[in-house]
Symmetry: C2
Subunit: 178 residues, 2 copies
């Protein structure tokens, strides 16, 4: 059984996690690495129907994504998780169960995320239509010591992708391209 | 990406699903096939805390196991699911989403399962301590057309295992050993 890994993208809604996930997927697939993107929203519909956005339920959702990521990583898959996963303790808990865990802080100031507001969610949150929205009326706890930090407000998508791929190469989680 | 498969063991509590799952795991592993057992009870604690044993919740649990099995199968893993999964529609629904789906009816008359009562659950169900227990006060819908049927009350563990392995070989889901 070959070793897989999990790139765990954490950050605010609108920080660019999904975009980055798909750029990474493209890059890894081109290197013939079996890759799976676990998107927080999609996983929610498949594994966590009925869960709310309370701190407890958010953590349960993160743990379920972690359970699936650990199974896939164990079987050699390069997993890319894209999930706000706002609480530090929940992320630290999944870290322990996943071989080759790479926490990536997708850092973009919440003001910039709100300015972009790709899905119109910040507007809804400001209007009180979403009761527990991370960054508006629910906390986001940034990683203290992530394996990689990218700044999507300052870097290009290519630069951010490159940083993560370089880290995987340095750790021998993927082979280098000569 | 190589093709995986999912052996879905369905049958009453005490029919011998877990025993068969581990015999299959041993056999597949000896053939260098990346194998994962998804046990209904274990999955329940990781993915389905809070779900009851109502028909609706049982089906949600089956669908979650199916979601994980489909991801693993897609990435070449030989998945073995061991779960009562009592309802036909739920099993038919997961069948559609899983590549290389092999439904195995682990058939053992419920009277024999109750006689064995390995976990003491039938006694509890008879005492009214378990409100919805398959085969006692909750229905089990046997597969109408399973890929394989084993009779754990009539066959040895080795015979039942062999039947399933032969089917996988015939379908080219695994290689034959000459």
């Amino acid at each position: 059984m070959s070793n897989g890994f999990t790139i765990w993208l954490t950050g605010h809604s609108g920080a660019g996690k999904s975009t980055l996930a798909h750029a990474l997927e493209k890059e890894l697939t081109s290197r013939h690495i079996s890759t799976e993107v676990l998107d927080g929203d999609i996983v929610r519909t498949n594994l966590s129907q009925g869960l709310t956005f309370s701190p407890e339920d958010r953590n349960i959702n993160v743990q379920r994504i972690g359970f699936v990521a650990s199974l896939l990583s164990k079987h050699g898959v390069g997993v890319i998780v894209s999930a706000i996963s706002p609480y530090r303790t929940a992320r630290e808990s999944v870290r322990k169960s996943i071989p080759g865990f790479v926490e990536v802080y997708v850092n973009c100031p919440v003001e910039e995320c709100e300015r972009r507001d790709v899905k119109g969610l910040y507007k809804k949150a400001r209007n009180g239509e979403i009761p527990s929205f991370t960054g508006i009326n629910d906390p986001y706890e940034p990683p203290l010591n992530p394996e990689v930090e990218v700044r999507t407000d300052l870097e290009s998508l290519q630069e951010s992708t490159r940083k993560i791929i370089c880290f995987l190469e340095q750790q021998n989680l993927i082979g280098e391209i000569k």
